[in-house]
Amino acid sequence: MIRAKMLSALPLLTVFISSISLGACITKDTQNDDKMTVKSEANTFDFSRIEGRNYYLLEEGFTCRANAPGKPILKSWKNRVEFNNGDILIWETVCNDNPTVKPFDIKNFSFSEDLSLLKYQSEEYSFYAEPPKLCPGGQWCPVTELE
């Protein structure tokens, strides 16, 4: 009796597992994933293609406290990475004056074909030739602390 019940449940289980798999496939099949084509070509990747380029991770409302008189709170990007002299510079916020420098390893990055997008640590960064303006004045954008 029990065995019969288990057998009857098998198709349902199969359908369930299939739906999960299908769901997972759909979840992964995003437009951005599709764009990220330059991956893990450690031996062939030409660093000069990205030398000097800056990629930004923007998040609305992100702020930081500047090391400046009055310690103003500034609008900021969430992170910025720069490719410089064969290294990656991890800048963090606009308030940081000392990025972390690490040797570049292509295995940790995925670029879109046109190098306009970068995926790093599961987050998507966008290339900007000039730093994105955080306010009309540029990058020095104090915000009211209590607002």
Partner: protein, 398 residues
Amino acid sequence: MRYFKTCLIAVATATTLFYSSTSLSVDKFEIYGFFPSKWSSNTIPVCWENPSSANAEGRKWTKEAIKETWERHSRLNFTGWSQCHNRSMGIRIFIDDDGPHTKGLGSQLDGRRNGMVLNFTFNHWNRACRRSLSFCIKVIAVHEFGHALGFAHEQNRPDAPRECQKERQGGDGDVYLSEYDPESVMNYCNPEWSGGGTLSRKDIEGLQKWYGEPTTQKPVQKPVQKPVQKPAYKPATDRNEEKTFFRIVNVSANDVLNIRYLSNPRSKKVGKIPHNKGCIAYLNQTNYYKSRKWVKISYQGAQGWVNSKFVRRDENLDCSTFYQVINVDDNDVLNLRQSSNFRSRKVGTIPSNACCILKLDETYANKKWLMVRYNSTIGWVHSHYLMQQTVGFCDSCQ
């Protein structure tokens, strides 16, 4: 400072082993310690990427600040200070109106183009510094050269107070050359901005542990010369204005002093002041009720009258806190308002470059507003547009 970061990238093969995972976010202790970012020689070349006659003064101040600090207290010798060439090694400084920074720590900068960026104009970044150029340039140079010597941000240390760690920025160190130093020039959490460009005792200890003590006795470090802070504010011509603040007297410990709408004891109460309060703003108005003098005051946004027998002039200098204007465009002015809200009537304006603005009162009733006096006009300003004046700012308060 003492908190040094020593990751060096020269040994690419070794570091590759550590980066064999799919992410760069490796525990810091796994990637440090092969070579220190400490310079191998005590003679460090310095050059300018874009020297010009327009930035000559800033370059001079920078060199002076470094000579008076890092160089004076160690065996370090910064040489060159001339124009960079293609293959120049050492610290390469680019002058730009941008956030000052260094692209790495210590010897990571060796020969790196634009490895250090300094700002001498402050038109687009940290504009408050335009009023105190030499001070700002020197303070910032001392901090950035700290990075160039291999010193990370002090507030990044795990033993920094929690509220300071919130300000953590940039790379971490792995060598502790002293205990946490709240007064370090490398500490964003230093109550005095970058220590005013003067190395703390522990900064000097840490510096000397890495780069040695000076071989010859050098004169004691002169602090970065701060512009003279002239008397607190423009002396008032009206005698009454000299009585800017009161303290409460003749009120028992379990009682309060009532603030009245009009200058008589039967008028409506509009506020109360604890018995031991001081620095209560006097609004330069007096009145008499049955031969008793009453004075108009403001306390935490409540304006009204109190009997003068319960107040005395407060001589405490701490009452005089001065502010300067920030976040106002050059071609704009800051409005002084009659009360603490944006719809209130304008009673005056303050230029965008004004400083020595005396705070009289403040209230959080409608976010933070400050009652200030500027050129004898009293009014309210939203705190977004004011910054407490740092010592060294506003060359003159006349």
